[in-house]
Amino acid sequence: MVKAPIITVVSPKGGQGKTTLAYELAALFHAVLLDLDWDLGGATGMWGDDPENRVRSAVLHGLVSGDGPLPRVLHATGRPDLVPSDSRLAEISPDPAVVTDRLTTWASAWDRPLVVDTHPGTGSIADGAMSAASVVAVPVIIGSRELEALGGFLRRVGSTGLPLVIVPSRWRALKSEQRLLGMLTKWARGSGIPATPPVADYPWIPRRYRRGALVLVENPGAEVARAAENYRAVGRALLDVLRKEPDHE
């Protein structure tokens, strides 16, 4: 049986459009979105869930102990199916191998693609989630400091053979950005790390579509249709990468 793909979204810095990307990809592929970002303002809050009310957490239990029940998946119209985050994830430092094992087990039990949103930067949870991934999407703003951070991140993890894909994010089509994007694309091609088409900057998304995924909006206006098409183009590029993965050949 071909295993259900796992798409892990990581970024070396915060504010790179990581959560929005994970949210849209999960909705696009009818995947389960597993939110492993413990900070407020993540996918769980965006979805409208309040994990503060829960005493037990199957995610927390699973990542610490390596067993336990399958986490419950929340459903709502216009939003991706979600396994919410837990603020206590900040307090644990599980073995990355256990994280990898849990994510693989859950994805095959759900028999659906899994999109994992992680906390910015690396750590044992992000490391485990990257090891489990069929593809690791790395959204990055095309700015000099962001690319510097990306360079540092790639120096740390680039040699480990992870299936990385760069997603240029919050693109404003400025002249300076165009120059940097050209450099990045050229560099990515040379280093064998593919880059997807850029996702434009849509500052109105959190305000107007706080909970809904753009790719699921029915009868979208021109602006929403344009933004949703950006995420679809990224989705197509990721599918191309997944097709070339050894598991699928």
């Binding site: 071909v2 259900a4 696009l28 592929f29 009818h30 409208g48 503060e52 659906r112 706080r210």
Partner: protein, 122 residues
């Protein structure tokens, strides 16, 4: 899942925006021409909207809830102003068999419970 990638592709295609249902609302009509300022009489004419000071102050939860009502309405293609938001909000409450006051009380209880929980934790 036989071929997960084929399935993902099919899911993405289903959300390609090409198979969307036709809009449920009539297409927007051209705007009516504005009456010239002098035709409104002295003082620039009557105000359409209530002055800012008279607006109801909402709690964050209420604002979130209203925003959800509005985004639902926007998603279904309804073009709305302030009074329409209130009408939709009240209609939704009535449909759920609730009143504005009951919703306020419920939110207040929830808020109190949350504060209690947080205080207990400290």
């Amino acid at each position: 899942m036989n071929d997960p990638l084929a399935e993902m592709e099919a899911q993405a295609a289903a959300r390609s925006g090409k198979s969307h249902k036709p809009p449920k609302v009539a297409p927007p009509q051209p705007r009516r021409e504005r009456a010239p300022r002098e035709a409104k009489g002295a003082g620039g004419g009557s105000r359409v909207f209530a002055p800012r000071q008279a607006r109801v102050q909402l709690w964050q939860d209420q604002e979130d809830w209203l925003r959800e009502v509005v985004s639902d309405a926007l998603r279904s293609g309804v073009r709305i102003g302030d009074s329409e938001v209130i009408r939709l909000a009240v209609a939704r409450l009535q449909r759920d068999g609730r009143s504005w006051e009951a919703m306020e009380a419920e939110l207040l209880d929830e808020k109190r419970a949350r504060v209690d929980r947080q205080t207990r934790r400290l």
